[in-house]
């Protein structure tokens, strides 16, 4: 294509010239016959970016095989499994791991208990006003961020906080609501609720309301139709939401750190302390790798149950 003026004095626009030049350069650098590889070129930057994570994991794995040399405060040279032995033999870490798992179990239970009616009404309501309001209530905390939300809970649950003021009005002495296990679980439930609803709601959307109508026309009360129709049909969504909430709780840092006040450490807090307080990078790395393994098992179950397209990436529709 050579730019040329035709008889009417038509000027070949500058944009076209630039475009022609760009196309020519592209043809030179990336001829049509390499079109098969174009997709790989486009996806390569994303693969490289995620590659940073993979390299990071390899670094962690490498560090986890070296113990801390107490004389130099650097990691020793020889490879050993001592860090893992320390973790498995130590009662402290056993306690921390047990606490994290227990908190996850409680959080999953209470989040699902609250998320199910929330999603159900969200999906089934006929009023678009109600639906929109519920969605805004759900998304606002999601965008506010964990630290600010935990700070809000600190204000509410503090000794002079709203909760204590409220029970004070009925003549109850202020009680310590913070820095204990239930307050951490409460914080986690508050944090995880939006995730649980967003995982559950699509599953409930997929259940036709006619199934419930049919059940009630056959004489089932709402409880029977819930336990025999809705819950079984929503099972994939419930399992998915439970696993996501469980994994996120198990690996959480901010809520136990802020609402637990140092007495309710989860695995992530123990890892942080090993890196930044005790400076035992080897032990911290071993803990981190164990947590990654634990998390991967949970996620592996999700992928196995729902397939890799859970998030609809590249959706095979």
């Amino acid at each position: 294509m050579t730019p040329e003026k035709d008889d009417q004095g038509f000027r070949y626009p500058l944009v076209w010239r630039i475009m022609d030049i760009l196309e020519a350069i592209l043809d030179l650098l990336w001829p049509q016959r390499m079109a098969k590889l174009t997709g790989w070129v486009l996806i390569a930057p994303a693969l490289l970016l995620v590659g940073i994570l993979v390299v990071g994991l390899v670094e962690i794995a490498g560090n986890s095989f070296h113990t801390l040399d107490k004389s130099t405060f650097r990691l020793s040279q020889e490879y050993t499994l001592d860090n893992y032995r320390t973790i498995f033999q130590s009662a402290t870490y056993g306690g921390v791991i047990l606490r994290s798992v227990l908190a996850s179990v409680f959080t999953v239970f209470f989040s699902l208990l609250l998320a199910f009616p929330f999603s159900y009404i969200l999906v089934r309501t006929h009023s678009s006003m109600v639906r929109k309001s519920l969605l805004v209530v759900l998304f606002l905390p999601f965008f506010i961020g964990q630290v600010v939300r935990a700070y809000g809970l600190l204000i509410i649950l503090g000794t002079n906080g709203v909760a204590n003021q409220a029970i004070g009005m009925v003549g109850v002495e202020p009680i310590r609501l913070l820095f204990n296990f239930p307050s951490v679980v409460f914080g986690e439930v508050q944090y995880m609720l939006p995730f649980a609803v967003l995982m559950l709601a699509p599953a409930l959307t997929a259940i036709p309301q006619e199934t419930e109508t049919a059940a009630s026309s056959l004489g089932a009360n709402w409880f029977r139709s819930l336990t025999h129709i809705t819950l079984p049909m929503a099972k994939p969504g419930i399992v998915g939401a439970g696993l996501v909430v469980g994994t996120l709780t198990l690996t959480d840092f901010a809520i136990p750190a802020m609402l637990g006040g140092g007495s309710q450490d989860f695995i992530a807090n123990a890892i942080y302390d090993q890196f930044f307080r005790t400076s035992d990078q080897g032990l911290g790395a071993a803990l981190a790798l164990l947590l990654v393994a634990l998390g991967s098992v949970c996620v592996g179950i999700v992928v196995a149950v729902f397939g890799a397209g859970t998030l609809g990436m590249g959706g095979k529709k």
């Binding site: 998304f139 606002l140 700070y151 204000i155 002079n160 003021q165 990654v292």
Partner: protein, 265 residues
């Protein structure tokens, strides 16, 4: 819903959820307007003095601008990378697609503390810890699936024939991309960009691991201050985040409609 008792139980639980989801936000915003020197209820009078105070506080202002820089870097990295990857996953026939998807979901599947410490080691070995751009890149990495997901769902809706038609009309590959492919995935790109920006703005754990005392971002600054003493100025700072979140929800609703998240896959 038919039965009265079901309505009662369900709405009871929903109101409880609404309460625990919204109350912290309302309390934080309310506390920021107190005239007293401590947070108490009911607040002692109404004033803007804590907003004045945070506007003058140098450490908070600097932390805020650092958060802004981190979010912009995150956006600058993730927008092109995520858009191209989203297009590649939907518009091109790649081999090993499911393996690719699992790999690209790694940022979600690896616990944040693991990703954060891994990147801390990587950037530490490169000797770049202490500058802002590694934090921006880290935020881009851990949230990358969000933008890939939103671009691919837009791209999946584009009719492949449109691109062929453009080529048939004489458009080159760049022209086709700029005038057909890119405009059609634009809603997904904007949604994804919004998510990336806000999530980088509020990102806490990874920032905590990758910053030192001279480079803290705003969420980390709040965390550090909360641990020392709770004063109403933090409530005022938190209100800034509430405003950002409100704006984000409003834009998201205008762009794609919040109801899209209820659709079954």
């Amino acid at each position: 819903m038919t039965s009265q008792s079901q309505r009662l139980i369900f709405w009871g639980l929903v109101w409880f959820s609404i309460l625990i989801l919204s109350l912290p936000t309302i309390i934080v915003v309310g506390a920021s307007f107190t005239a007293g020197n401590i947070i108490s209820f009911p607040p002692e009078g109404l004033s803007f003095k804590w907003y004045e105070k945070i506007a003058l506080a140098r450490d908070l202002r600097q932390a805020f601008s650092r958060s802004l820089v981190v979010s912009l870097i995150c956006l600058a990295v993730s927008l092109p990378v995520g858009t191209l990857a989203g297009i590649a996953l939907t518009r091109y026939r790649l081999r090993f697609t499911s393996a690719l998807q699992i790999y690209l979901l790694l940022p979600f599947t690896i616990p944040l503390i693991g990703s954060g410490i891994g990147m801390m080691l990587v950037f530490g070995n490169m000797g770049v810890l202490g500058s802002m751009w590694p934090v921006g890149i880290a935020c881009a990495v851990i949230n990358l699936p969000f933008i890939i997901w939103s671009v691919s769902s837009s791209a999946a809706a584009l009719d492949r024939d449109l691109e062929l038609a453009a080529a048939n009309c004489g458009a080159g590959r760049i022209e086709t991309f700029l005038h057909v492919t890119l405009p059609s995935v634009m809603p997904g790109v904007i949604t994804g960009g919004l998510l990336m920006f806000v999530l980088a703005m509020t990102e806490f754990l990874v920032s905590l691991l990758l910053t030192d005392s001279r480079t803290v971002t705003l969420p980390v600054q709040i965390y550090n201050n909360v641990r020392s003493i709770i004063t109403p100025d933090l409530a005022a700072v938190s209100s800034v985040f509430v405003v950002i979140a409100l704006a984000a929800v409003w834009i998201l609703d205008r762009l794609v409609g919040l109801e899209i998240f209820l659709k079954s896959k």
